[in-house]
């Protein structure tokens, strides 16, 4: 789009196609383009480079809402890692465990997926490979009870961060969302700080907004980890999610290995969307 030499009607059409095919969504795209057209009419944007810069600014601004540190000062703090089936939670828990351990924290992993076949085994293998402590339960065990025990253990053994992997779930299933609320309640009643990270697959379409909203309503939302950004999907649904829920994106998953995790950089993310 930006290789064109002048601001024609065609450029606006190409821009709309670029944003929509990046999963930015129709209404967010229309809001953004509306903003930019207004600026062009006022003469604030006159040529293609100005348009690109203006668009870049608009997109970054939407991602920078609600940015605050993911406070990890309490000891221990429980981090619930939640999200849709197959989004990348278990792999992300392993990556975060390694990340915080390298940052000097004492990390305890909790294999809170007691539902899916090999849910616990999958995290256990990562823990072994990374030299991380992991608490697991039997398949079919109550995940909330497992968390209760893990908290007691974390306190007794002086862990800073308790990273809890949870079973994948569809946000329209009320009983499953209630289970997450119950897990958070258990930690809070133990006077433990709880943070919730939502894991969102970068290739998710407009359903990502409903997902984020439902998880936030059930168990709070202190941050988002967007995974599989090493694929061709641009993750454009994040703009609507950030806009509507003010939830900051914290990390990005860039592959299937434990070190394929980077801290979210809005500038780099927007540059990639506009490529």
């Amino acid at each position: 789009v930006f290789s064109k030499s002048e601001l024609s009607a065609e450029v606006w059409d190409d821009l709309e196609e670029m944003l929509i095919t990046a999963d930015v969504g129709v209404s967010t795209t229309e809001n953004i383009l509306g903003e930019l057209r207004g600026r062009e009419r006022k003469g604030q944007i006159r040529e293609i480079d100005g348009l690109r810069e203006g668009l870049h600014q608009e997109l970054v601004a939407r991602l920078n809402q609600g940015i605050s540190a993911l406070a990890l000062d309490d000891q221990p703090v429980v981090i619930l890692v939640v999200g849709f089936n197959g989004a990348g939670k278990t792999t992300t828990v392993a990556k975060l465990g390694r990340y915080w351990q390298q940052a000097g924290k004492r990390v305890l992993l909790v294999a809170g997926d007691t539902f899916r076949a090999a849910g616990g085994e999958q995290l256990n293998i990562w823990a072994e490979r990374l030299g991380l402590q992991c608490i697991a339960g039997q398949r079919g065990a109550d995940a909330a009870a497992l968390l209760f025990d893990a908290i007691a253990s974390a306190r007794a053994r002086g862990f800073d961060v308790v990273l809890v992997d949870t079973a994948g779930r569809i946000h329209t299933k009320t009983n499953l969302m209630d289970e997450l609320g119950k897990m958070r309640g258990i930690a809070q009643r133990q006077q433990i700080e709880v943070r919730t990270l939502l894991v969102l697959d970068a290739s998710t379409g407009q359903n990502g907004i409903a997902q984020a909203r439902a998880f936030r309503d059930a168990v709070g939302l202190d941050g988002i980890v967007v995974t599989k950004l090493d694929g061709t999907a641009k993750g454009g649904v994040l703009f609507a999610v950030a806009d509507e829920l003010g939830a900051p994106v914290r990390f990005v998953g860039t592959g299937e290995q434990p070190d394929d995790l980077v801290v979210f950089d809005p500038e780099a993310f927007v540059t990639a969307v506009l490529e």
Binding site: V26, F84, G86, G88, A117, E121, R129, K173, K228, A233
Partner: protein, 290 residues
């Protein structure tokens, strides 16, 4: 809903007298919006709206007492036409039928492999599952557990090359006179040339009669490019769309169908192994329209 929005559009337009071609354009804007919000690919939507426009500017809509309903009817018919007839699993030829499940990471391949095996078993068939994902931690164990749950044998090895594993599984299926071999492969990006090459080699090694793309129904615009690449690189014979027990509209079904021409064969509708259903184009069209 779309029909509600179209009612509102035509009520407002109808108040000024007879409807004209320009008025249809406003209705088409709502149709386009609905399809894009349902994650149908931008270019597929353009083609669809053009086809709807060609039909909607006739008397079918302009002289109808219920123009909104007429537009919905036309859109629904176009969607059903594009979604096509549900496909069946390949049959005929010397057993075993070899089915490969392929797709992006986390789309539901391993779960769908077990579901397909159970589905076949209930039809009196004798399937074998092959755990050809040696990369993901506990992937083999995951399929082993699902095999035990469904009482379907699983060919699993402690380590190794997916091509060799698949070949050995075929050998086992043949010597046990089994009807179907279902190969669960590792999730992969369609841009990973090495791993896409691996799929080509597995397919050739076992002469697969079915290659099913397992796609998450919540996938957005990228569904088009992903399906296209899997199809041109490996050759697909069918699609399984998963996680339809959620509230994603599933517009990816249209994009995938449009770009590959490959039939939708099954729908995944839950985490339980019984949660697999045949695909009904009529129901899918209604779901996408929202």
């Amino acid at each position: 809903t779309l029909s509600g929005k179209l009612q509102a559009v035509f009520e407002r337009l109808g108040q000024k007298g007879k409807l004209g071609e320009k008025d249809v354009e406003e209705a088409l804007r709502e149709v386009r919006l609905a399809l894009l919000e349902a994650d149908v690919h931008f270019r597929v939507v353009r083609g669809l709206v053009d086809r709807v426009r060609a039909r909607a500017i006739g008397s079918e809509v302009l002289q109808s007492l219920t123009p909104a309903q007429q537009v919905i009817k036309i859109v629904h018919e176009e969607l059903v036409g594009l979604l096509g007839e549900p496909g069946k699993l390949a049959s005929g030829g010397a057993p075993p039928q070899v089915i490969m499940l392929v797709g992006l990471q986390g789309s539901g391949k391993t779960t769908s492999a077990a579901k397909l095996a159970l589905h076949l078993k209930k039809q009196g068939q004798r399937p074998l599952l092959a755990a050809a994902d040696p990369y993901r931690p506990a992937a083999v164990e995951q399929l082993r557990i699902l095999g035990r749950q469904t009482e379907v044998p699983v060919h699993a090895e402690s380590a190794g090359d997916p091509v060799a594993i698949s070949r050995a599984a075929l050998q086992e299926a043949r010597s046990n006179h089994l009807s179907h071999l279902i190969i669960d492969t590792a999730g992969r990006l369609q841009t990973d040339n090495a791993l896409m090459g691996e799929l080509q080699r597995i397919k050739a090694a076992v002469s697969a009669t079915e290659v099913l793309l397992v796609a998450d129904s919540t996938i957005g615009q990228e569904a088009l490019r992903v399906a296209e690449t899997f199809h041109t690189t490996v050759g697909l014979t069918g699609i399984i769309l998963t996680k339809l027990d959620g509230d994603a509209r599933g517009g990816a079904a249209l994009s995938v169908r449009e770009v590959t021409g490959v039939p939708l064969k099954f729908l995944g509708t839950g985490e339980m192994l019984e949660a697999i259903e045949p695909f009904y184009p009529d129901r899918m069209a209604s779901r996408i329209l929202g």
